[in-house]
Amino acid sequence: MNSKTAQPETPVFGTISRRGFVKTGGALFVSLAVPIPFVARAAAAENPTSIDATLPESWLEIRSDNTIIARTGRTETGVGITGYYPQTIAEELNVRPETITLIMGDTDRTPDGGYSAGFLDGMTNVRKVAAYTHQALLGLAATRMGVPVSSLSVTDGVVTGGGKKITYGELVQGQHLELKIPIKGTMPKPDPTGEVGMTSMDGLTVTGDPPMKAPKDFKVIGTSFPAGHIPDKVTGKTKWSCDVNLPGMLHARMVRPVTMGSTLISVGTIDAKQFPTAKVVRKGNLVAVVSPNEWEAVQAAQSVADSTKWTNWAGLPGSENVTKAIRAHKFAKPSQSKGKAAETKGALQSATKKISATYEQGYVRHAPIGPFVAVADVNSDGIVTIWTHSSQSQGLRARIAYVLSVPVEKVIVRWLDHSGQYGRTTFGGDGAEADAAILSKLTGKPVRVQWTLPEDMAWSSVSPAWVSDMSAAVDAKGQIVAFHSAQYAPHMEDPRPLGALLAGMPSAASKPGGWVATEWPYNKIAHRLEDVYGMPNIAGDSAYGGLRGNIMRTPGQRQQNFALEGFINEAAATAGTDPIEYRLAHTTDERLISLLHATAEAANWETRPSPHRDARRSGSTAITGRGVCIMIRSNAYWVGIAEISVVPNTGVLKVTKFTLGCEPGKVINPRQLDRCMKSGVVMGLSEALKEEVTFDKSKVTSTNWNSYKILTMGEIPEIKIVQLSRDDKGFGGGSEAANALVPPAVAAALFDATGVRARKIPLTPSYVSSLLKA
């Protein structure tokens, strides 16, 4: 078992390095002993609540029983890094992956920071550290065994050479390993002028080029090694962030404003007879009820909410007007442009045949099954400890420090498992942590804040609505010769903690903007310009920032790819060409071409243009259709093929089969990739068919699972997976992206079946009906 079994013990400032060290190493600790004790080095470092990332044992601790502790700032968010990281380390060290235990995400006992979306960068870090350590161990073994390094080989942690054998555990016992891990970068610090209100969120990077194994020699990478977090989750042994229970801890329930902009008039009261242990705590517009008894906190909070008075506010446009609200914004210049502006505009102006279309989507949200939860303990000695499930522990640490106006060094963040985040905590802000920290400071006790589902769905950050204007010039054969996209969206990187906004405490603001997220696949198009325009949050100037926009799984691409690939499908139909043939005619990228062929074959794709010859837009019997889309992202290639049936008279659309192809360079773990691909299809279908955050003029109205609907098991189609692995392109990101392949393929399949374009999602029966009747 190689997952961390988290201990919610309270770190002690100044001695945490020793405690954490002894705790993890225990009596068995021998490690790569260094002349100056580890503790002293850590304490001497700039930040005493951190460990020194230049020390190899901060990353990898080899113990006398030949087990290994690996530490990473990245965390398991459900994409399998508790499988991938041990695989990678094991590969370079030549040990068995099951000997490796991961400690993840704790700011005081992991070296590198960073966020989980950057799991490949984090993997490169641990891979390089393992490679450096491997070299140092070989040097040590050569000296000990009196043979040249070149004569040594290592299998399963046993070094063999010159007729002798020694295990890594024996080798490092009492030995000094002369090794310094080269690193660059800094941990995040508050910076209100920075893009997300912080300095870099990337954490530290291990530099240099230690000798690493060639893919052809991989023994562990490329196998379906199981993810280490799973057994404890299945048996109920995992300590989740919601399970942290400290002595003297208070349970809190928040009393939120009645609208997204209301301010407090008067706080409600608690009937002390009915709720003897409950108390109201307030700072600014932050109102909470705390009690040592969770059920009493729940009931008392309801009673306080019923009697608390708030001002009226109605500053939202209503979700039905969201496109209008985006269009009404006066956009200046693009936040980012790619391609050549002048020549593309010129080519479009002089074109004899042009096509254009507009695509749009409303707000959607991350919507985890488990609402936000956090525990904070603001100690009398000034140390703030946060127990979190944020996917950006170091960023959260800096943000909490900023909220409380304390140095970053005074904040310790301990990470534990929880419900998936799907991006909402990537910048370390959204969540219950600020609530908990503020309440702990006010009460002087450890406080656990559990958001409710309606609260989470009303107040957590959201993936913003967007509008895309696409245009192209085509030649006589229908080939695209010039392409222009202009994409408009509210802010997508606003991680300000709600608790700080309500309490009127500092919350480093971030800059609205946007970026060209989709990588350009169509290199045979002569002229192209991609523009992305950002604007502030909708109702951004209201008291708490309005609809705080945030990134969500496959951010940017999930929006932009719907427009790009929808438009390519339209162009293919205009040209009367099969949509796969059309794509093949616009690219020379052999990786994309190979994957298109492989996925088309797996889906039994029939080469013909869309719509289908039997397409119709009325009738009470089902008709079928199929559609395709592609994407390139983070050195991974994707092809999605949807097959649907739709009953025109009802607008009810069913996806019957989805074939998804992926070529992410070297596949690290085929089964985890299979799981991530299939689950990504599920999330993508959910977005394509069902999801939309609704709001009226004053508040979000989709605040539970009946009003914010996501896909159920009964709605999943047959999902067919195609994986291509290759040794010559490094590693690509396969853990997310799949969701972005679904909406364009499903919309294309609807066109194939009916001849009607859907340029907006979700494809609900009422929307599909309205399109077919138009």
Binding site: H229, G236, W295
Partner: protein, 177 residues
């Protein structure tokens, strides 16, 4: 406002002194330290809190603790014992044996974040106890259409769950995996 209630959870009788209206989930988690069932929606819409009551799924987030007194509650922590009893395993064997549903969840690598999976395994255990060889449609039906709500997974592990239920069924029927 508090009563003394005797609960039987995972085969162990325990007495708690508590407000009888307290939702079962708070008693399981905070009093009995059984953290398998988890708080999701709090309104019986998602299934994360599901436990078995006399072998039938209930949602512990909306069930007052008084309603289960004297009856047998099973959480995922208690599933191995259910299987051991059914198969008449010795104490030694039982110690080493998970419920086939749990084993299948590991073998098929079902959990992604894993938050909803406790409730998912509860449904699977209930389904397979009644129907040891369910079709894909029957599995989908059990996780989607049984009241009070579908069991929701935001990570999207539904396909893996179907694989795992079929695998667990095979194991329970004594077939080769």
């Amino acid at each position: 406002m508090t009563n003394e209630l005797t609960l039987s959870v995972n085969g162990v009788k325990q007495t708690v002194t508590i407000d009888p209206d307290t939702p079962l989930i708070f008693v399981l988690r905070n009093e009995l330290k059984l953290t398998g069932p988890r708080m999701g929606c709090g309104m019986a819409q998602c299934g994360a809190c599901a436990v078995l009551l006399n072998g039938k799924e209930i949602r512990s987030c909306i069930t007052p603790v008084s309603g289960v007194a004297g009856q047998e509650v099973t959480t995922i922590e208690g599933l191995p014992a259910v299987w051991a009893a059914e198969k008449g395993l010795s104490a030694d064997e039982a110690e080493k044996t998970l419920h086939p549903v749990q084993q299948a969840w590991i073998d098929e690598q079902v959990p992604q974040c894993g938050y909803c999976q406790s409730g998912m395994m509860i449904v699977a255990a209930q389904l397979l106890a009644k129907n040891p060889n369910p079709s894909v449609e029957e599995i989908k039906d059990a996780f989607t259409n049984a009241p009070p709500s579908p069991h929701l997974c935001r990570c999207g592990t539904y396909a893996a769950i179907i694989d795992a239920v079929q695998r667990a069924g095979k194991a329970m029927r004594g077939e080769a995996l």
